[in-house]
Amino acid sequence: MESVLLKNIGKPDAHRIENYVRNGGYRALAAALKLAPEHIIQMVKDSGLRGRGGAGFSTGLKWSFIPKDPTVAKYLCCNADEGEPGTFKDRGIMDNDPHLLIEGMIISSYAIGASNAYIYIRGEFVFGARRLEAAIKEAYERGYLGGDILGSGFNLDMYVHRGFGAYICGEETALLESIEGYRAQPRKKPPFPALSGLYGKPTVINNVETLSCIPAIIEKGPEWFAGIGPAKSPGPKIYCVSGHVKKPGLYELAMGATARDIIFNHCGGMLRDDRALKAVIPGGVSAPLLTPKDLDTPLDFDSLAAKGSMLGSGAVIVMDSSTCMVKTAYIINRFFSHESCGKCTPCRDGTPWLTKILRRLEHGEGRAGDVEMLESLCDNIFGRTFCPLGDGAVMALRGALKNFREEFQYHVDHKRCMAC
């Protein structure tokens, strides 16, 4: 597949606007501004693009929920919080090819009628934030941002908003709270942001990768996009591969590549040839892990859902036989309890409880009944939390428990690890 999202990465000074334009940048914008906004929304719908932030919701459909009333202010927010462990694709785009995102955002803003757009970027991404700010300045200078963009009469201002250092800031409504200056905690839905989002106004929130797909859809047409990968989750997809492989990194492939293809063809196989693959987390740490028997599952939204896992952010974490699943579960769970925003009871008080049990197991202080206790606590959290963070914590742990229950029990019985 020809590279779409990572095509400029590696080219010298790809982040400079003149190079971006030389490589064909901002042509899609010029074309889009000649189209009616509804037409663009229809194109995005037809392309089959589904959100790359995790949930995989149809982007075109999301945009179509925005009220058409021109007197109501609307906002576009780019979710660049990229907090899911193992995920580093948005950062790749922003650090290296900021104009791709900016162009995508201008077209998207035009389509939904927004005249203000925010990039909510993870606080730690200082480099990316500076890059984006510089790029936005360049875009203003060339008339791609500001008043009457390319003579179309369309106005747009764009801001970089640096995040506040919590995973929950990436949850779309918590992100809105954060931009408004409040503590990042999710808002109750409904109302959905499309009707009442930032400052109570209709708002679209999309992931960096989602928005970066837009210029190509305009230029090459929705049919082209829909033709890549599986019919129900088409398009190019950046997989972020980390863990025990020879060549970890970002791989832009047609959606639906299998874990086997990614690990053994693209990443050069397992890090150590003497260690077998034990498990793969296919879509960020909330996604239940896959075992070698699932290696041929296509990594797309629907195929993974059918396997009880999810594509999430597309972070593929590969673990070999030396990996202790109790420790893995502990570390992942510790992340969630540390990042729990504190709003709802099951997640706030449930995940730290899980962490405390897992820590004991990991430190050889397991007690009889611990595994059953973990399972029972998971039941009391799952489906009862305010936002998906708590569910994510449970899904990850349940995945490990389901596939490696004996390892957990071994920690209880022998006060040490089976794998290492």
Partner: protein, 834 residues
């Protein structure tokens, strides 16, 4: 209306009803922590999860509205186990130190766990602790975060209702703590609403700490004795000492809220300086005496005809007492010389009552909040009537309405205003007249009048210190509204030349077919009751006409000063401290030939008396207060009066009986019957307490509102403004007075909690004025007027008008009354750093 099934039972409820309320209406209990009717729902605690047929996940019933045809289960096994699961999580890190927790016995967590389990603990991990020892947040508030259930009600009530924004949630996850930055309570209103809403033992009253268990308390459901908002509250005592006042969710117009005075200011009741025996002046000094001796002196010195006598009764007495007091004077002493205020001119009062249409009957604050436009003028609502401020803030945030605030001083409620007008102090008349002029422009019959009006408008704008566009905007909003409510405060009584304009605006808007209501904002709990009982020299009970008009407080003092007053009976008023010209008042009171003062403390006035009678506080009697809205509410007796003190009712009756044995009625119940007849406004007022719980709009107990008077003998008089006391060059600041947030008259000065919050006088000026003088917040300053000089602490306030200094009326060390001169206008002062 939509029909839903709850646990198989069909119920029809209004569109948009929350599942929680629908279930409760249908008779099912659903436990909650974070839900509270008058706060914005957050759906976070997950206690109220219910099962909805066809939905995979349990849903929070407190934020999910019913949809037609929904089938809901609140008792399914999943729901039951989810509740137990949530409670188990809440207990995981919970301190569980019930034996030493003030909340034990009335703790929602205890109750819920008892009811919904789990009854066995599984959590065997180390608990996270926020801190070892409870920490003191303010002189009245202490906190233990280790017991928190994170319902965030404390933060929400502070933000959404009180508007103080002192509290917030800090940190994340199970480290989230509801507290204030740096654990300091800098801008706190100290109202303790955070305590009241807290379901567990986190926010606690410091004065109440470790004093009791709730089951050892005996309480009385009563009404706050401070301002005329009329908040319902329960006061509770243990072994004769009142140790707590609390509000009740869903009861009274205030529901669960009170202000600092209401929640903490009750401790004057057990102040050791309470009067417990009659005192009689012997050889120049007041000495304890028997009731017989005191009454004998009264009998001897008050003449039943012929001599000139007067009576002043406090607007903190109950209606029954006030009624009997005026009856005593009008029928026994044959004297029309009675009044219920040391501060207001009787003519001003009559004009205000008329202009505000108080004789038309009660006006519910909730009706005011349902209007298109609310205009607040002449009132520093945030400090004077704090719970009225809460109601305005809470309701206006959730509906589309104009809230216009016109006031010289900045106040907390400003942030809820859709339009603010900072005008010059005492210039309410110019503001209102300018609005009226603008409203009249579109009806100008003759174009040639326009220049005349323009010139007039210009003059008004300059005396008001307002901009043309501000006034125009207000006029536009009023013009475009079909319902208008005006909250008019006591500044109208301080600058009575403004009263006619208030009446004019009301009449003008009404003549355009608008529904206009005026809610008087008053600072004494039963001021309205005192007027409606006829404790006024110009009108009788129910604002009825009187045959003979008499002297008010000012006239009585003037007569006394001339040596013409034979006897004066003051019940509960501290005239010497409050009459605006302290020096004159003291001189006049000393010249009364026979002065009887009935009070609960030896006030400055009582110190001048020949006979002092010990009365009862609001906690020691029963009766009715009529709040500013005209809502008649019962206060209930909690304790007997201390020592030999007596109910004021009994004292007034005994005084009457000593002249005429048939004087009566003999008990308050019979007096009420007579009031219902003599003041038909009270004819069918219902005194049945409204105990509806939880549902917010049921807070409005309309049956308690007084009705309109059939024939009121009132008129609005034009009262000429008086020139300021002191020249502007020498004294650059115009003095503005009123009550402090923590104090109300002199009564709160006897509360150690309230004096603990603020004891010494402060003077408040705008930040800009302070900068110009090189003064800073907290500086000690000398305040000098033409009549008096005093030392105070300077407070600066952002957003207040220039050239204006506020001093509260409540401090002995800054005797505001002494800055005034009888017959002169508002004093001007100079401020210098010491």
């Amino acid at each position: 209306m939509v029909t839903v099934k709850i646990n198989g039972k069909e119920i029809t409820v209004e569109d948009g009803t929350l599942i929680l309320n629908a279930a409760r209406d249908a008779g099912f209990e659903v436990p909650t922590f974070c839900y509270q009717a008058d706060l914005i729902g957050i759906g976070s605690c997950r206690m109220c999860l219910v099962e909805i047929e066809g939905q995979k996940k349990l849903q929070p019933s407190c934020v999910t509205p019913v949809l037609h045809g929904m089938s809901i289960n609140t008792e399914s096994p999943t729901v039951v186990s989810a509740r137990a699961g949530v409670l188990e999580f809440l207990l995981a890190n919970h301190a569980l130190d019930c034996p030493v927790c003030d909340k034990g016995g009335e703790c929602e967590l205890q109750d819920m766990v008892y009811r919904y389990g789990p009854h066995k603990g599984r959590h065997a991990e180390p608990k996270f602790k926020f801190h070892e020892k409870d920490y003191v947040l303010s002189p009245v508030i202490i906190k233990n975060s280790n017991r928190c259930v994170q319902c965030v009600k404390c933060v929400r009530v502070c933000r959404e209702v009180v508007g103080a924004n002192v509290l917030t949630s800090l940190n994340r996850g199970d480290h989230q703590e509801e507290t204030s930055f740096l654990r300091s309570f800098l801008d706190c209103d100290q109202d303790g609403n955070c305590i009241e809403v807290c379901p567990v033992g986190c926010f606690m009253r410091l004065p109440y700490r470790y004093k009791t268990r709730p089951w050892d308390l005996k309480g009385a459901d009563t009404v706050c004795p401070y301002c005329a908002t009329g908040c319902r509250m329960v006061i509770e005592h243990r072994d004769g000492v009142v140790i707590r006042a609390r509000a009740q969710l869903g009861v009274g117009l205030n529901s669960e809220t009170l202000c600092a005075r209401g929640r903490f200011g009750f401790d004057f009741i057990n102040n050791p300086n309470r009067l417990t025996t009659p005192l009689v002046r012997k050889r120049g000094a007041l000495e304890p005496a028997s009731w017989e001796e005191a009454m004998g002196l009264i009998k001897k010195n008050f003449s039943v005809g012929g001599g000139k006598v007067g009576g002043i009764a406090s607007p903190r007495l109950v209606n029954e007492e006030l009624y009997l007091f005026q009856k005593l004077f009008r029928t026994v002493f044959n004297s029309p010389n009675i009044d219920s205020s040391s501060r207001w001119d009787p003519l001003a009062v009559e004009s205000f009552v008329s202009a505000a249409s108080m004789h038309e009957g009660g006006v519910s604050i909730f009706d005011c909040m349902a209007s298109d436009t609310l205009l607040i003028i002449g009132s520093h609502l945030s400090d004077e009537n704090p719970v009225t401020d809460y109601i305005v803030r809470r309701i206006s945030a959730n509906r589309r309405m104009n809230v216009i605030i016109a006031s010289p001083r900045a106040m907390k409620l400003d942030s809820s205003a859709t339009q603010l007008l900072r005008h010059l102090p005492g210039a309410e008349d110019s503001v209102l007249e300018a609005i009226i002029l603008n409203l009249n422009y579109d009806k100008l019959p003759d174009e040639t009048l326009k220049p005349v009006k323009d010139a007039r408008l210009e003059a008004l704008l300059s005396t008001a210190g307002a901009l043309d566009k501000e006034i125009k905007a207000i006029a536009r909003k009023l013009g475009a509204s079909s319902t208008v409510a005006v909250i008019a405060g006591t500044d109208f009584l301080r600058a009575p030349q403004s009263i006619p304009a208030l009446g004019l605006l009301k009449d003008l808007l009404r003549s355009r077919g608008k529904k206009v209501t005026v809610l008087p904002a008053l600072d004494r709990c039963n001021q309205r009751g005192a007027w409606e009982m006829g404790v006024h020299p110009g009108f009788g009970p129910g604002y009825s006409r009187v045959d003979k008009k008499g002297l008010g407080c000012d006239g009585i003092l003037a007569a006394a000063e001339q040596g013409e007053l034979d006897a004066l009976y003051i019940a509960g008023s501290d005239v010497a401290s409050m009459y605006p010209d302290g020096e004159f008042a003291a001189k006049a009171l000393s010249a009364v030939k026979f002065l009887v003062v009935q009070d609960i403390f030896l006030t400055e006035t009582a110190k001048l008396a020949h006979v002092v009678l010990p009365g009862a506080s609001f906690a020691e009697k029963e009766g009715i207060f009529t709040n500013q809205e005209g809502r008649a509410q019962i206060i209930r007796k909690l304790l007997p009066p201390p020592g030999k003190a007596k109910r004021d009712f009994d004292i007034i009756r005994a005084v009457g009986e000593s002249f005429d044995p048939s004087f009566g009625p003999k008990n308050p119940v019979l007096v009420l019957d007579e009031i219902r007849k003599e003041a038909p406004m009270y004819g069918d007022v219902s005194l049945v307490f409204n105990n509806k719980k939880n549902i917010e709009d049921k807070l409005d107990n309309r049956a308690a509102l007084v009705k309109g008077a059939q024939s009121a003998a009132l008129k609005v008089s034009r009262i000429e403004p008086r020139a300021d006391l002191g020249g502007a060059e020498q004294f650059p600041f115009r003095l503005v007075t009123g009550n402090h947030l923590f104090h109300s008259g002199m009564l709160s000065r006897m509360s150690s909690s309230m004096t603990g919050l603020l004891n010494a006088a402060v003077i408040e000026i705008s930040e800009g004025d302070a900068d110009a003088l090189g003064l800073r917040n907290g500086d000690k300053v000398s305040v000098r007027g033409a009549a008096c000089e005093a030392q105070m602490t300077l407070r600066t306030r952002k957003g207040s008008g220039k050239g204006m200094a506020f001093v509260a009326e409540n401090f002995e060390d800054a005797p505001v009354a002494r800055f005034f001169r009888r017959g002169k206008g508002a004093p001007r002062v100079a401020i210098t750093k010491i």
